[in-house]
């Protein structure tokens, strides 16, 4: 299987200067993941666990106060490896949208309000293609929209004339125009009603099936992951604590946090009262020592309070970051 995007020891922190005191928010703390071709990779976790920051860093959207402190993000394009943060630089425009594109959270206001929708399409296309192919590309974009079930007149409309669901679908369509190898979707279903959510998820599934590209979905909604993700990574307090195929995550969760997560989901068979992990997730600027989950973990050992467990593959493509696994 071909790796498309990879992070190695990635650390991106928010460094804030609040009236003289330096505060560091460790949103992405030593993350190593590999995103493959032709899969739907889900990243799950509670609000504030750092998943949006991870996405931003993956996409190269890093601005002070967010900084990449350590490690790197690598794109594997055309057989070559590119570290997008080389020389502290930013993602060059050549990759944006052609190799990797982005569907933002809540596309309510991502379209320029004073121009027609088709102008936005043209702008995105124009900035990446030479003039000969522009016309073709625009026609392809129109094709796209039709295939994705959007009526033609959407292009001639202004952003405020479209409904929320429509706008989200336009954003998704826009992300596919240059046929990128990776599409990142940040909470694509939040802020939408259930019916539209269904439509959006179906749309993403269809795109992946048709173009055989990779979609990375970040959401706290486990139901969405269950629905379309092929692999899922669970994130907690800036670190990946478990990563495996969707079936294994839902069927045999290993990490105590994942267990709580799965057990808190309602289910048809089991009518017992649902429980969730006791306590609250830690503040990312004041992380506990050792394993960040240990204050809430019912299985904690002495080791967990001082040593940080690393994400290790325990066979069958199932990685966990927990000292419990070592004991087994």
């Amino acid at each position: 299987m071909e790796v498309l995007v990879e992070t190695r020891n990635l650390k991106s922190y928010y460094v804030l200067n609040v009236f003289g005191n330096i505060k560091t928010v460790k949103a992405v703390d030593d993350v190593n993941i590999r995103i493959m071709k032709d899969e739907i990779y889900g990243i799950a976790g509670e609000s504030g666990c750092g998943k949006s920051t991870l996405l931003k860093t993956l996409f190269g959207d890093v601005e002070p106060p967010l900084r990449v402190i350590d490690g790197g993000v690598f794109y594997h394009d055309g057989g070559k490896e590119h570290n997008i943060y080389e020389d502290g630089g930013h993602l060059t425009r050549q990759f944006r949208w052609k190799f990797i594109s982005y569907v933002p959270q809540g596309s309510m206001s991502v379209l320029n309000p004073v121009v027609k929708v088709k102008e936005v399409f043209k702008d995105f296309l124009d900035s990446h293609l030479k003039s000969e192919s522009k016309k073709e590309a625009f026609d392809i974009a129109v094709q796209h929209l039709r295939e994705l079930g959007l009526p033609d007149n959407v292009l001639n409309a202004y952003s405020h004339q479209l409904s929320g669901g429509m706008r989200q679908r336009v954003a998704i369509a826009l992300s596919t125009v240059l046929s990128p190898k990776v599409i990142i979707a940040d909470e694509p279903t939040t802020a939408l009603d259930v019916v539209t959510q269904r439509g959006v998820i179906q749309l993403l599934k269809d795109i992946q099936e048709k173009y055989k590209n990779t979609i990375v979905i970040v959401t706290h909604d486990m139901g969405v992951h269950a629905n379309i993700a092929t692999r899922v990574a669970i994130m907690y307090a800036g670190k990946i604590v478990e990563e495996s195929s969707t079936e294994k995550i839902f069927g045999e969760p290993q990490h105590p946090y994942t267990r709580y997560l799965i057990n808190s989901l309602p289910s048809f068979e089991n009518r017992e009262k649902r429980t969730s992990a006791p306590g609250n997730p830690p503040s990312l600027s004041e992380l506990p020592s050792g394993c960040s989950f240990h204050p809430r973990c019912p299985y904690r050992m002495k080791r967990c309070e001082s040593e940080v467990p690393l994400l290790k593959d325990y066979g069958d493509d199932h990685s966990v970051a927990c000292w419990l696994m070592e004991e087994k």
């Binding site: 309000p113 004073v114 202004y158």
Partner: protein, 335 residues
């Protein structure tokens, strides 16, 4: 139809109301104050040495009252005032008796309108574009220099800046004429020479208005751009790899312009006043110089006339700008 109702109608009503209130204020202010212009004129005539017997004085006062529109009760005066206004009659000017005030105003108005129109539109456009780029590409050195200049020029009252320009460029380094609108005695034609002369005289007053205008809009747009920069659609375009210049023009400036149109409408009153002051410094033959002479000679009718016309010009321009807004913001155009 909806558009007409929701957008057009309220503005037209406001326009008429404000115009009405303004003219009424112009009407009432002189009548509120204890000075009596008829008495003053009579005193002045007497002071100049003319002797008038009581009968002649009375006749004079009567005709003055008529000329000043002070005959009859306040209500009668008010109705009279409006009647004459609609006909464009402001009575005769005092310091250029018996030329009707309207003639004097009509002579000066084109100069003022020409100066105002060009400098306002130019400075608004230039200021917006410069401010937009400066706000977006905030790290470039060139803009820091512009910032410095704007900090010095922007708070200047029109008078002082005009004075400085006059001193420097017409006195110390005499490139431009000290004042006036055209060389004395020559006629204004469409020939190149004539146009060039026109421009030469208009240059300094226009420069003064332009400088203040450009830097005012520059600052204002820069401020707006600060918040537009962080709007979702700008970020999205950046993430999409759209070229920065395109983002600056199409996404940032096009949107930052919108509140500036409203701002333009609101500042037209100030800009107009500033233009008048500038004209006075350069004795440019527009309404400003006319106003100065009116104040100097205590020409009551002329003062009233200029005030009324000014209110008319300003409120109408504001209406025009207001009506232009939907052209730029589709959200207002299509509900």
């Amino acid at each position: 139809m909806n558009f007409v109702k929701k957008y057009l109608l309220p503005r037209l009503i406001t326009y008429f109301l404000v115009f009405f209130i303004g003219i009424t204020m112009v009407f009432f202010i002189p009548r509120l104050l204890p000075t009596d212009p008829v008495q003053r004129t009579v005193t002045r005539v007497r002071a100049m040495g003319a002797y008038l017997d009581p009968e002649a004085t009375e006749k004079m006062m009567e005709s003055l009252e008529d000329l000043y529109g002070l005959k009859g009760s306040v209500w009668e005066q008010y109705v009279n005032f409006w009647k004459r206004f609609v006909k464009g009659d402001f009575g005769p000017s005092l310091f250029q008796f018996p030329t009707p005030v309207t003639t004097l105003i009509m002579q000066s108005l084109p100069w003022t309108v020409g100066l105002l129109l060009t400098t306002t539109i130019l400075s608004w456009l230039l200021g917006n574009i410069l401010g937009g780029f400066a706000g977006y590409f905030s790290n470039s050195r060139g803009f820091k220099i512009l910032d410095f200049f704007s900090m010095i020029i922007r708070p200047m009252p029109y008078y002082i800046l005009s004075l400085i320009l006059l001193i420097v460029f017409a006195y110390l380094i005499p490139i431009f004429p000290l004042g006036g609108g055209f060389s004395i005695g020559s006629e204004i034609t469409f020939s190149l020479e004539s146009i060039l002369t026109l421009l030469k005289y208009a240059f300094l007053p226009a420069l003064s208005l332009l400088l203040i205008g450009v830097f005012t809009w520059y600052q204002a747009t820069k401020l707006v751009v600060q918040s537009v920069k962080s709007e979702d659609y700008v970020k999205y375009a950046e993430l999409g790899g759209v070229k920065p210049q395109k983002i600056a023009m199409k996404y940032v400036i096009r949107n930052a312009m919108l509140p500036q149109i409203t701002g333009l409408a609101l500042s037209l009153g100030q800009i107009f006043s500033g233009a008048l002051i500038t004209e006075m410094v350069f004795t440019y033959p527009g309404l400003g110089t006319l106003l100065y002479n009116a104040i100097f000679t205590g020409d009551y009718n002329l003062l009233m006339g200029i005030s009324s016309i000014s209110i008319f010009v300003v409120t109408t321009s504001i209406l025009v700008v207001d009506l232009l807004y939907p052209l730029f913001d589709p959200r207002v155009r299509y509900k």
